[in-house]
Each structure stands twice: as C-alpha cells, then as structure tokens.
C-alpha cells in the first residue's frame, strides 16, 4: 500500500509566524466588523421602513384622537415628576461645576450665561430624552413585546385593525408632542435649579444670575433644543416599538427587548445629537 505522502516540513520562521498571526487577527477583526455593521445596518433599515410606515398613517389620527390623548397622558404627563426632579438637579449640579471652574477667572455675571447655554442646547434635550428612553421606551418595548407574546397583535390584525395605526401611530405622535413640552419644562426648571444654588450657596445675586441668563440668550438655541427633542422623541418611541415587535417572547425575550430599546435609543440619541449640533452651529 502506498504510503501517505507527508508534507515537507516548513522550517520555523518567527517573522513569518508573527506576520501570519497579525494577518489572521486582522481578517477576523474585519469579518466581525463587517458582520456587526451589516447586522446594525439591516436593523436600522428595518426601523426606518417601520418609521415611514407609521408616518404614512398620520393622516388617520383624526379618526381616533383619544388614542393619542391617552398616550400623551402616559408618555408626557406621568413623566413630569421625574423630569422635574432630574431637571432641578441638573441645573444645580451644572451651576456648582461651572462655579468651580470659573471661580477666580470668570466674573459671576457669566455663570448664568454658561448655565443657560449648557441647559438649553445640551442637558435639557439630551438628558431628558435619555431618562425618558429608560422610562417610556422600555415600557413601550415591554408592552408591545408582551402583546406579541399573548397574540394580541395577531388579534388586532384578525379583527382588521391595523396595529401600526392603533398602537404605533398614537405613541409616536404622543412622543413628538410630549418630548418638546417636557424639554421646555426641563430647561426652565434646570435654570431654576441653577438659580437656587447660585443664590443660596454661591452668593450670586438674582439680578446678576438673570442678567447672565439673558446676556447671550438666543431664540435659535431654543429652536435647536426643540428640534432635538422632536428627533429624540421619535428615536425613543420608534426603538421601543421596534424592539417590542422583534422580541422573542417569554420573560427573557421581553426583558431583552426592553434593554435593547434603552441601549439603542441612548446610542442613537447621542449620535443624532452630534450631527444636529454639527449642522446647526
């Protein structure tokens, strides 16, 4: 019987081994990046298509306005206490930090100015939306995920009731309405929180603080803030609904859908924030 031919032994070459290892690692890294990117792009594409389909149903809102009102109460009004607390503290903390950095270099007059800019452009819309992603987005994901699990979505379809029209559209519209209102409230309360600290702890007079607030105040900033609020509202509600729809069912699936909705809306909010600021200023 013919002997199996052995491959000729390749002499060990450390340089080649190192280069081969680097090559293999690079390839593996490239493949995983490609897999992750294409997966994320697929999901983003699906979410955008879902958003377009929900927008397409907006003209039908007048047929069931009470559904949207219910959601405004759920998403907006009931979130108010949370927004009040976080906004007051954001303003207070921002004032303390600004004072720490300014003391001895920048006059107290600019304390109000810095707080107003920071609160209106950044902390108001971004932090409020991040907190609402945790409160509202996860609740929507869990609700839709459970409805899917319990066949309620199928039941809607079988009763010839379009789930996008009766579930998704009122929630999205309520988000678009509620987020800017909550952000405006958050902006105002953060400025109040800042004033409490400035006046109470830092010995800055009310007149100085208010003068600072008004010094470089621009309505354009408020417009950008509201624009951000609308975009972030859409992101939070859409991610909640999308991940609810994609949930695998069961306690674990619904939990994961909730978690994913919060993670993806947080990431998208910050990415979107970058682009809005980049193009707006």
């Amino acid at each position: 019987m013919e002997k199996t031919r052995r491959r000729p032994a390749i002499p060990f070459n450390p340089l080649r081994t190192v280069i081969e290892t680097i090559g293999a690692l690079t390839l593996a890294f490239g493949r995983s990046v490609k897999a992750i990117t294409s997966d994320y792009l697929d999901k983003l594409g699906e979410a955008v298509v879902l958003l377009a389909r929900i927008f397409y149903r907006f003209p039908q809102v007048w047929k069931n306005p009470y559904l949207t009102v219910q959601q405004v109460v759920r998403i907006g009004v009931t979130s108010l206490p949370l927004v009040v607390v976080i906004s007051l503290f954001i303003g207070a903390v921002a004032t303390l930090s600004a004072n720490y950095q300014f003391r001895g270099y920048v006059p107290d007059l600019y304390l109000g100015t810095a707080i107003a800019k920071f609160v209106i452009i950044e902390s108001g819309p971004v932090l409020t939306s991040l907190v609402l992603a945790g409160r509202v987005g996860s609740a929507i994901a869990a609700e839709v995920g459970t409805m899917k699990e319990k066949e309620e979505l199928d039941a809607l379809a079988v009763l010839d009731l379009d789930p996008l029209r009766y579930l998704a559209m009122p929630r999205l519209l309520a988000g678009i309405i509620s987020f800017p209102v909550l952000v405006i409230i958050s902006d105002c309360l953060a400025l109040v929180g800042g004033w409490v600290v400035a006046y109470g702890l830092l010995d800055v007079t009310t007149a100085t603080y208010v003068y600072g607030l008004r010094f470089l105040f621009s309505v354009y900033d408020v417009g950008v803030s509201l624009g951000k609020a609308v975009c972030f509202g859409i992101i939070v509600i859409l991610m909640g609904y999308y991940h609810g729809l994609r949930s695998d069912g069961g306690a674990r699936g619904v939990g994961q859908a909730s978690m994913r909705s919060v993670v993806s809306s947080s990431v998208l909010i910050l990415v979107m924030d970058f682009f809005i600021v980049y193009f707006a200023y």
């Binding site: 459970t146 319990k150 066949e151 039941a155 379809a157 079988v158 009763l159 010839d160």
Partner: protein
C-alpha cells in the same frame, strides 16, 4: 359569491421556519357550514395552518383559496376583502389587556361601523354576551380578573359580535377543566347551528374533537394523512391515526 361546495381550500401549502419544514404539502378543503377539526400532535403545525387561512402567515409554496378566489400565495396576500368575513379565537383568547371586557367587544365593532351609536354598541354587546351565556355585568371587569374559561368565552364573544362567516378556533379547550371544555364545545356547536358559520377547530383534545366535528383531518409530518367523519376516523386502519386517537405511545403495528 362562488357557489362551489367548498368555502376554503388549501392547495399544496408549504411553510418553513428557518431550517424547520413545518408544512410539507397540506391539501384541505372545507365545505360551507361544516365544522372541520384538525388533529395532530403538539408543535406539528396545526396552528400554522389556521394562521395561513386567516392571512397571518404567508405560504412558502401553495395557495389559500377562499370562496373561489386565490387570496394567499407566496407572492401576494390579499385578505383585505375577506378579513371581516373571518374571525379567530386564539389559544389564550388574546383579549386586549388594557381594555375592559366591554371595550374588548365593542372596539372593533365601533371602528368598522362608524354609524353605530354607543347605544347600538351596548345592545349588540348585551346580545353577544347573552349568546355565550354571560351576564352584561361582566363588561366592566378587566381581562386579568377573569378565569381561563371566561376569557375563552369572551374571546368568542368578540369574534361573533362582528358576525363572521368563518370562525377559526385555535385549541379552544386546552388548559380548561372537562366541564368548562364542554361549555366551549357546546358554544362551538351553537355557533354552527344558530349562526350557520363554517368552523375550523384545531385541537388535540379527542373528546372535544368527536363532539364538535362534522369532519376531521389529521396532520402528521407536514401532511394531511387522513380526512373523514368522526365515524371514519374511528374505523380507519391507518396505524398513525389509531395511535393518535387512542393516545398510544407506540404505533399499533409495532405493538403487534
């Protein structure tokens, strides 16, 4: 309306989920006004058949024909015109948790018949609840306060309030005690006799199947391996059917 004897036809239906082929070649015809019971083992694809009939799933191959018209193929799904002619009772009843019982019954009615006043809706609801032997007082309760059997009856009430021609029942007696199961069986029979509906019942509860069926079909490995009356199915020598209806662990031929 097509005057053919059959209202619903499934032709060479195939469906896979990932690599798992659930329906391999399902052919089934359902006559107008009859109750067809589909039996088969759990996880065998019985509910998948129902979901094809009502358009919740799209077949990979084959056709779903309703009243002479092809409405579901792997390319198109055109259930818009026939959706309101069909109703489905889900395994867990699928009542909307966020609404009370009354709203559950009235919601779809109100959306589809804008001319109905709240008074009309209340009347239809009371009539429907009477039909399933429940008092109208229940309409202010939330679904979470109800027992499994009660939920099933209300799921049925929600379906019949819309007066469909076809009712699909997905495991209507699963998880219920024998007496409540019998109540549901009687309701299925009443729907047929009083409203003249065509029904498809998916179940593995043989007591229920024998009681409600005009004809029965057995699904095995993605094929309909037997169709006939309850009498036929008792008398058949097909070992797989006998194994199922007698609840034996091993095939009859193996036992011999």
């Amino acid at each position: 309306m097509n005057d053919s004897e059959y209202l619903i036809e499934l032709r060479h239906l195939q469906k896979s989920f990932g690599h798992q082929k659930v329906l391999r070649d399902v052919n089934l015809k359902i006559r107008r006004g009859e109750t067809m019971v589909i039996i088969g083992s759990s996880g065998g694809g019985k509910s998948v058949i129902l979901k094809h009939v009502i358009g919740l799933l799209q077949p990979d191959e084959g056709e779903m024909v309703f009243d002479g018209q092809v409405i579901g193929t792997k390319v198109t799904q055109d259930f818009k015109a026939v959706r309101k002619r069909m109703g489905m009772l889900f395994q867990g009843a699928a009542l909307f948790d966020s609404m009370n019982v009354g709203e559950n019954i009235k919601f779809a009615l109100r959306e589809h018949n804008k001319q109905l006043t709240e008074n009309d809706l209340d009347l239809i609801m009371a009539e429907t609840l009477h039909m399933i032997n429940l008092s109208p007082d229940i309409c202010f309760k939330m679904p979470s306060e109800l027992s499994g059997g009660m939920k099933k009856r209300l799921g049925l009430a929600r379906v019949i309030a819309l007066k469909p021609e076809v009712i699909l029942y997905d495991e209507p007696t699963t998880g219920l005690d024998p007496i409540t199961s019998d109540v549901i069986n009687d309701l299925i029979l009443e729907m047929q006799s009083k409203l003249g509906v065509t029904s498809i019942v998916v179940t593995h509860d043989m007591v229920s199947a024998y009681k409600v069926a005009d004809r029965m079909a057995m699904l095995l490995d993605g094929h309909i391996i037997f169709t006939g009356t309850p009498q036929d199915i008792r008398e058949t020598t097909n070992p797989y059917v006998q194994q199922f209806i007698k609840g034996q662990r091993r095939l009859l031929s193996e036992v011999d």
